[in-house]
Amino acid sequence: MTIEEVIFYVLATGAGLGGVGVVLSRNVVYSALALILSLMSVAGIFILLSAEFLALVQILVYGGAVTIIILFAMMLTRVRDMPRAMNGPQWPLAAAVASVFMAVSTIAAVSSQWPGDTENPTVIPLRTLGDSLFRQWSVPFEVASLVLVVALIGAIVLAGREEGE
């Protein structure tokens, strides 16, 4: 087992455990913390895949912004005041569906002969990445900015307090 593999398994365990924590924890705040754990582990995996920029984005956007928003939302909706079952009565079905999917996707991943050189991946330099993002992928980039604007408008319109509220 190479050192890389060891790191991978550590990170994968972190991501998986975090994921389990998100969906199973009885305390929502723990869930949020587990999500952070999972996200950070995934960021590590990105580094393993030599996609440092993505790891950076992951940490900044998810670790920073997203989790903070989620925690805010939890506070605002006073989740802790409601000590009820966090899982619905549908969970056995959910577990069945999820395990079926897990089995299928694992089989799909393992049983297939993936083409190409799976031993020595090429590292993609950040410079080319940025270049491509702004030149070749200009349209999605612009549209994504529109998406953000829409989300912004939506958040303001919907969450803002009106007079008399």
Binding site: G16, G19, S31, L76, M86, N87, W91, M102, T106, E165
Partner: protein, 102 residues
Amino acid sequence: MIPLQHFLVLSGVLFSLGIYGVLARRHAVLILMSVELMLQAVNINMIAFAVYFDPEAFVGLIFAIFIITIAAAEVGLALAIVLRIFRNRATANVDEVNIMKW
């Protein structure tokens, strides 16, 4: 280097966990977090494929960047809606939001 399959299996696991969360959780925010897990799984796939098969065009990397962007926007928007619901009826449990049914 680590074989590609490792990443794919990890991604499948995360995605399945996300599915479970969406189906089983009752609180809107928790469902949203589960969706984030699913998107993480997609990102792992995308990046792994990009690095292993598609180093010239690396579409997967670009795709992952956009997925992260969209996911962030999604969280913001969804939480705004959740907040609105919470203000109007003091709950964010999705199974209590059911005045519309057949």
